[in-house]
Subunit: 466 residues, 2 copies
């Protein structure tokens, strides 16, 4: 369930390709890049997340003796090849956009430079991790933008797709600006603030609702948030008002109430009036149930007196776009740029860098994707994070990553901040067009059996240009 | 990443409620049921999956000393309560529909009968597991129905939501009738047949395509499936034809080719003609890329000569319905039936059973949801699987579960088999309507402060009626 889910969490074809690379002695350096091809309309930007789990995976990647024994039992691989796997570690370089960076389609956010067997083998798990966290962070950021100043809490574990999805959704949404999560293990593992109230079953299990509230208040005196929609929301609000003085005498303050069904905005208005009339102006109202960025926007635009939101399923499954059209593609092998030209899936060859320009107000004004060696005005977004299999710096804290995300979201062009469709300018530099044409010409020459030993395209610069 | 992801993979509110149950000495038997509330239009049926992982979780559930130390460090819980958690194990009963059973909204597929703390604590993880596997099995079954006799292989790990999602999606789609998966760990852990070919990067890394094919064929002589769409699909098919005699001499037979982009049906037709003209009538064509049940239906209806399909992202994320509106709700506590009446989320109280009727041809004709004690014509779908925390039988093999699923899918009414919207009749029996009214009356009496010590509704029968 952690990042080191094991090296066998991969596609079979990675191993069959590695057998073939091994047999033919192909062990030159390969360069792969991860990018998103396109977004659905209305989904104007992405927020990078998941790098930390990728680096942990690369650091820990190795075949255990039992993995190799099992692979041998499948009779698909040679003994000689399996022996080589025993020694396999990740010894390559990684360049990446820091977690929390806003990015757009066609911009690589991760580059792996390593002997081809290593760079190939890690494909499946790197995509699996980057895809999930970027998907959720990008979705959660939209709720954050629509509910400025409000407490947002991740409630999505139960309908996230399995254990790791729930855990990493808590992390990704926290990076995007949520205030915390209900997932206990995410609190323990990542230090994310934990929030929780009570379930309907708690109220149902008691003889009556007021008794349930009182029992809970005494058991969790520092965290009294009462769920009031099990039977009749407004009636329950009156019970909260009636209970408050007695609890006050016992030194217990009611912190909030939660509403989880019906017209949340309308119930919140009625409940606010009941609480205020009962002298409970300080008791906050927390809403949950089928929320996403649009529901938050509409409730707040309608002036609903809600102080915090539990946001679950729709963010943790990114329900309107449950996957990203993303890929991890070979861009260079043995010093030569490479591309595929499959219909609708052609790639730009070579090692790339993304440069970002800002306007006078500090808002993002446009990006350029070009060759790493080409140079360009603007701020380069990909930075070296791992060299020779070792990290170049210790992992940033989650607080730091949240700061990066908040800074990036603040600098989005205003239409994107408003979730309005916007054609953010991402230019593919002429250097890339030229290299692509050159790679294609070379392929044609090869297909025609012509020599092309001179003038090989895309000869690589050093991994870390000075 | 396995089912025993740990007892802290839960919502904080489960633990705060348990503290409250502990403080007030509430330890009577609770009955919870898991069900799906509704489906999107066009999604006519569900396929139950995930029970096995739930049972493993219940068998293994316990707090480790380090879990308790960490909980103590949060200062949210009393020492006395934490000491009680140390002894907590699951000692309850479980009734469930066997994995592979077709079911419909409002039908419970799992019932937990246990002391309330146990039954409450397990809520989050049980939903998390049942939701995921049922979601994927239900989606995958649709592809199976649309491609009878074709080999379907799960290719979805990279864009599944994390490690566990990929692993359990392989399991769930295999239950539904897929022939295998590309996920190596799923092969190892569940014994699911593994399939894999090569990636575009493999072709790109070679000087030319024919050389890549030849290299691969020698490295994997028993599994020669060649990816032919990296540059020009039909040109690559001609290369395959040209290579075949030489490989034949080396004792290597080309098993198939894979097409992953463009108009798959049209490319398949052209490639079939090229292969046939070259004497390679036995080489199969495998297609992949953005496939789901509708793409399969359309390709096969158009007579595309495709023998097998790699189905990935759209099934492994259930992309058209990425979550189920499902719940795990308290139905009885201390021998009294319970329900919630939250707007749009009211539940039917009491311990329930689902009975299914079949027509003369053996097709499903209608279901009735009623009280377990009420009796009804038809086949009861919920069966006891765990008693007192112990399994009543060893886990069925995956082959057995696949048999259950195939048998259930074969007995679907024809419109549902065709994925046509269909109002399959699910009747809520009068016994449930009566009990719900009785529970509501009791609640009203309680709210009015009236005694209702006689005539308590829903007094429970034994956990396993004779």
């Amino acid at each position: 369930m952690n990042a080191a889910a094991g090296v066998l969490l991969t596609d079979l074809y990675q191993l069959t390709m590695l057998q073939a690379y091994h047999d033919s002695g192909m062990e030159e350096t390969a360069v792969f890049e991860f990018f998103v091809r396109r977004l659905r309309p209305g989904r104007g930007f992405l927020l990078a997340a998941g790098l930390e789990q990728c680096l942990e995976y690369l650091e820990q990647m190795q075949f255990a003796p039992e993995d190799l024994e099992w692979l041998a039992s499948t009779r698909r691989f040679s003994q000689d090849f399996l022996a080589s796997l025993e020694r396999l570690r990740f010894t390559g370089d990684v360049h990446a956009m820091p977690e929390g960076t806003v990015f757009f389609p066609n911009e690589p956010i991760l580059r792996i430079t390593a002997p081809i067997a290593q760079a190939q083998l890690v494909e499946t798990r790197l995509i699996n991790l980057l895809h999930l966290e970027t998907l959720i962070a990008s979705k959660a950021a939209r709720s954050v933008l629509m509910a400025p100043g409000k407490l947002l809490v991740d409630f999505g574990l139960r309908r996230a797709h399995g254990a790791e999805a729930g855990l990493l959704a808590a992390r990704a949404s926290y990076i995007a600006g949520f205030g915390g999560t209900s997932t206990v293990l995410a609190g323990r593992r990542f230090g994310i603030p934990l929030f929780g109230t009570m379930a309907h079953s708690f109220v149902q299990a008691h003889e009556d609702e007021a008794q349930a509230f009182e029992c809970f208040a005494h058991a969790q005196p520092d965290n009294v948030v009462l769920l009031i929609d099990t039977w009749d929301t407004e009636a329950a609000a009156h019970k909260v008002v009636a209970l408050a003085p007695g609890l006050e005498k016992a030194g217990i303050r009611i912190k909030g109430v939660r509403i989880d069904s019906g017209d949340l905005a309308e119930h919140a208005r009625r409940v606010r009036r009941i609480l205020d009339a009962g002298g409970l102006q300080d008791v906050i109202i927390f809403a949950s149930g089928d929320l996403d960025e649009y529901a938050l926007r509409d409730m707040l635009a309608a002036g609903a007196p809600v102080d915090g939101f539990g946001v679950g399923t729709r963010v943790d499954t990114s329900s309107d776009q449950p996957y990203l059209d993303c890929a991890y593609k070979l861009q260079e092998y043995a010093g030569q740029a490479r591309r595929k030209r499959s219909e609708g899936k052609a790639t730009w060859p070579g090692r790339k860098q993304v440069y970002r320009r800002f306007d006078a107000d500090g808002h993002m004004a446009g990006d350029t994707v070009t060759l790493e060696t080409a140079g360009q005005a603007g701020e380069p977004l990909l930075v070296p994070v791992m060299r020779g299999g070792g990290r170049l710096a210790s992992a940033p804290t989650l607080a730091d990553v949240r700061g990066v995300a908040a800074g990036n979201l603040a600098r989005l062009p205003e239409p994107l901040r408003q979730l309005k469709d916007d054609d953010y300018p991402v230019e593919i530099a002429s250097a890339l067009h030229k290299l692509a044409a050159q790679v294609d010409r070379t392929a044609l020459c090869l297909a025609a059996g012509l020599s092309e030993s001179r003038d090989r395209p895309g000869a690589a610069g050093p991994a870390f240009p000075a």
